[in-house]
C-alpha cells in the first residue's frame, strides 16, 4: 500500500493533468519568458561576445535553466492560508497525518508534473532555438541535479515559513509577493550574480535565495571546484535546516494560537 504522502503526491500529479488548458498556457508562459530574456540580453550584449568574462552563452544558459527550474519549483504559497481562511485547518489538524508533510507531498506531485510536462518541452524548444552550453561533464550534471533538489528544498522551506504568517494575518498576499520579489531578484535568475558588484554578490551568495537557482547553474557550467560545490551544497542544507526550523516554530506557535484563542 502506498504511504499516504506518496499517494497524495500522486493525486496532486494527476489533478494537475486534468487542467490541460492551464498546462499549455504554463508551457507557453515559460517559453515566452525565455524569449523575452533572450531579447533583452541580446540587446545588452550587442556585438560583444563577452562582458566581464561572461559570454552570452553562459548568460543564456543561466536564464534558460533558471526559468525552466522556476517552472518546476512552483510552490503553492496559499496551501495553508486558504485552509485558515476557510476554517478547514481545524479539521485537518485532527487528522492522523503530518500537515507539513501533506503540504510537501502536494507540492512535490505538482513539481514532478511540471518537470515532465513544462521543464522538458520548454528546455527542448529553448535548446533548439537558442542553444545552451553543455554541462561540464557527467559528474557536474549529477551534482547539478543534486543541487537543484536542494534548491527546491530551500524554496519550499521559505514558502513554508512565509505561509505561517497566515496564523496572524488575515491576508498574506503582500508578504508572499515580497517573498517572490526577493526570490526573483536575489536568486540570480533574472540578473546573474556575476554582474553584481563584488561586495553585493559576496553577500547574496550567503543568502538562501542564490542557492535556489544560481548555485545549480554555476555547478552545471563548471564554474565551481569540487570543494566549492561541497561548501555551496552545505550552505543549501544549512538554509533548509534553519528556515524549516523557523517555519516549524511558527507552525507550533500558530497551532497554539488556534487552541488558545479559538482561531
Amino acid at each position: 500500500m502506498l504511504t499516504p504522502y506518496l499517494a497524495f503526491a500522486k493525486k496532486s500529479f494527476l489533478n494537475r493533468s486534468a487542467y490541460r488548458f492551464n498546462h499549455f498556457m504554463g508551457i507557453l508562459n515559460t517559453i515566452l519568458r525565455i524569449f523575452i530574456f533572450w531579447g533583452i540580453y541580446k540587446a545588452l550584449y550587442g556585438d560583444r561576445s563577452e562582458v566581464d568574462g561572461i559570454t552570452m552563452t553562459m548568460v543564456t544558459t543561466n536564464f534558460i535553466l533558471s526559468i525552466c527550474l522556476e517552472a518546476v519549483f512552483c510552490v503553492n504559497d496559499f496551501y495553508l492560508p486558504d485552509r485558515i481562511n476557510s476554517g478547514s485547518i481545524a479539521n485537518e489538524l485532527l487528522l492522523p497525518i503530518s500537515f507539513p508533510g501533506r503540504m510537501l507531498a502536494d507540492n512535490l506531485g505538482n513539481a514532478v508534473f511540471k518537470l515532465i510536462y513544462h521543464f522538458v518541452p520548454a528546455l527542448i524548444v529553448s535548446v533548439l532555438i537558442m542553444g545552451i552550453q553543455a554541462p561540464a561533464g557527467i559528474p557536474m550534471l549529477l551534482l547539478f541535479i543534486l543541487s537543484a533538489l536542494l534548491g527546491y528544498g530551500v524554496l519550499w522551506t521559505i514558502s513554508f515559513a512565509v505561509q505561517m504568517c497566515s496564523f496572524w494575518l488575515i491576508n498574506v498576499w503582500s508578504i508572499v509577493t515580497i517573498k517572490n520579489v526577493f526570490v526573483n531578484v536575489l536568486s540570480g535568475s533574472m540578473i546573474p550574480l556575476w554582474f553584481m558588484p563584488d561586495w553585493m554578490s559576496g553577500v547574496l551568495e550567503l543568502l538562501p535565495f542564490s542557492s535556489i537557482y544560481f548555485t545549480p547553474v554555476q555547478i552545471y557550467l563548471g564554474q565551481l571546484s569540487y570543494g566549492e560545490i561541497a561548501v555551496k551544497c552545505a550552505i543549501q542544507v544549512v538554509w533548509i535546516g534553519v528556515i524549516y526550523l523557523i517555519g516549524t516554530l511558527l507552525w507550533e506557535k500558530g497551532k497554539r494560537k488556534l487552541v488558545v484563542q479559538g482561531g
Binding site: M1, P4, S88, N91, L94, L95, I97, V259, V260, G262
Partner: protein, 310 residues
C-alpha cells in the same frame, strides 16, 4: 471516555462532566451556551483556561509529531461551521483521501464506502465536486466521512442541519448500530427531537454552566414533570377534590387538567374520573426536552428578578 474537570474556557465555567464509553450523549442549550466550545475542548481544538480535559484516556490536545498517529485515528469530528471535505474535489475523491490518511486497507475502505454511501444516500452524487453540492447533500457526505474509519469516539456538532427526514432516520439507525458496537457519541443540536431520538444521556448547558446531566427521563421528571390531560366527556362531572391537580379548565364537555407526574400518574387520574363520568375521548401531552429548556430559562429569569429585588 471523556472527562472534564472544572473546565473553564470562553463562556464555559467550571464544567465537570464524565461521559462514559459506549453511550450517546446529547448536549443541549440555547444559542451561545457553550455547546460547540465543549466539543472543541473534547477533541483538543481548544485548550482550557482552567481545569483539565481527558479524552480516550489522554489529555485532549492537538497532536503533533508522533502523536499524530494516536488520538485522531480513534476520533471522528464534525463541526457544522467548519468544512470537512476539500471543496474542489469530488465526494469519492475526498473519501479516498481519508481512506489513505487513516491507512485503511483497500477492501475495508470500499466495503465501508459503499455501505455508507447507500445508507446515507450520497452514492448518486459521489462524482460531483463538493463545492457544487447543496447543504443537505454535503452534510450527508460529511457524516459518511467521519464514520468511514469507524472511530471509537464521535463528536457531532449540529449534524442534522440541512438533512431531510430520511437522512435523519438513516443517521439515527447508523448511530444506534455503532453504539451497539461500543461507539461513544456526543451530539449537539438545536433540534430537540433529534437529540431525544438517539441520546441515552442529556447534558444541559446554560450560560456556560452544566445545568443538568442525566437520562432523558430523569431530566423530564426534574425540570418538566407537568403533564396535560385533555378530556371530552360523554356524561357526568369529574370529582377532582382528592386529586393533586395543579389546575384545571372546563368548557362544557371539554376539560383540561394540569398535574405533576411525580405526584400522580395519568392512569390514576383517569381511573378516578371514570368513577363519576363517561369519557368519550382522552389525550395526554407529555413534556419534551424543549419544555426542559424553557423551564430552565424560566428559572433563570426568576432568579435574576429575585436578585434584582434584593
Amino acid at each position: 471516555m471523556i472527562s472534564f474537570e472544572k473546565v473553564s474556557k470562553f463562556i464555559l465555567s467550571e464544567v465537570s462532566i464524565h461521559i462514559p464509553a459506549g453511550v450517546t450523549t446529547g448536549v443541549i442549550g440555547v444559542t451561545g451556551s457553550g455547546k460547540t466550545t465543549l466539543l472543541k475542548l473534547a477533541c483538543g481544538l481548544l485548550q482550557p483556561e482552567r481545569g483539565s480535559v481527558y479524552t480516550l484516556g489522554r489529555e485532549a490536545t492537538i497532536p503533533s509529531g508522533r502523536q499524530t498517529k494516536l488520538l485522531p485515528k480513534e476520533l471522528g469530528v464534525l463541526f457544522a461551521h467548519l468544512p470537512l471535505l476539500q471543496p474542489e474535489e469530488s465526494v469519492r475523491s475526498n473519501f479516498q483521501s481519508r481512506g489513505l490518511i487513516y491507512r485503511m486497507p483497500k477492501e475495508r475502505f470500499w466495503r465501508e464506502y459503499h455501505r455508507l454511501s447507500e445508507r446515507l444516500g450520497f452514492a448518486e452524487f459521489q462524482q460531483e465536486k463538493v463545492q457544487t453540492l447543496s447543504l443537505g447533500q454535503r452534510r450527508r457526505a460529511e457524516l459518511g466521512a467521519v464514520l468511514l474509519h469507524q472511530p471509537k469516539l464521535l463528536l457531532l456538532d449540529e449534524p442534522t442541519v440541512g438533512l431531510d427526514q430520511n437522512a435523519k432516520e438513516a443517521l439515527r439507525s447508523l448511530l444506534e448500530e455503532r453504539e451497539a458496537d461500543g461507539l461513544t457519541t456526543v451530539i449537539t443540536s438545536h433540534d430537540m427531537s433529534d437529540i431525544a431520538a438517539v441520546c441515552g444521556r442529556i447534558a444541559v448547558l446554560n450560560q456556560g454552566r452544566l445545568y443538568a446531566y442525566g437520562s432523558r427521563e430523569l431530566l423530564l421528571k426534574k425540570y418538566a414533570p407537568v403533564d396535560v390531560m385533555q378530556l371530552t366527556l360523554r356524561s357526568g362531572v369529574p370529582n377532582l377534590e382528592d386529586l393533586p391537580v395543579k389546575s384545571y379548565a372546563a368548557d362544557n364537555d371539554k376539560w383540561m387538567l394540569i398535574y405533576d407526574s411525580n405526584h400522580i400518574t395519568s392512569a390514576e387520574i383517569l381511573r378516578t374520573i371514570l368513577t363519576t363520568c363517561s369519557v368519550q375521548e382522552v389525550s395526554i401531552h407529555k413534556p419534551d426536552l424543549e419544555d426542559v429548556l424553557m423551564r430552565i430559562e424560566q428559572e433563570k429569569t426568576e432568579v435574576t428578578e429575585e436578585q434584582g429585588k434584593t
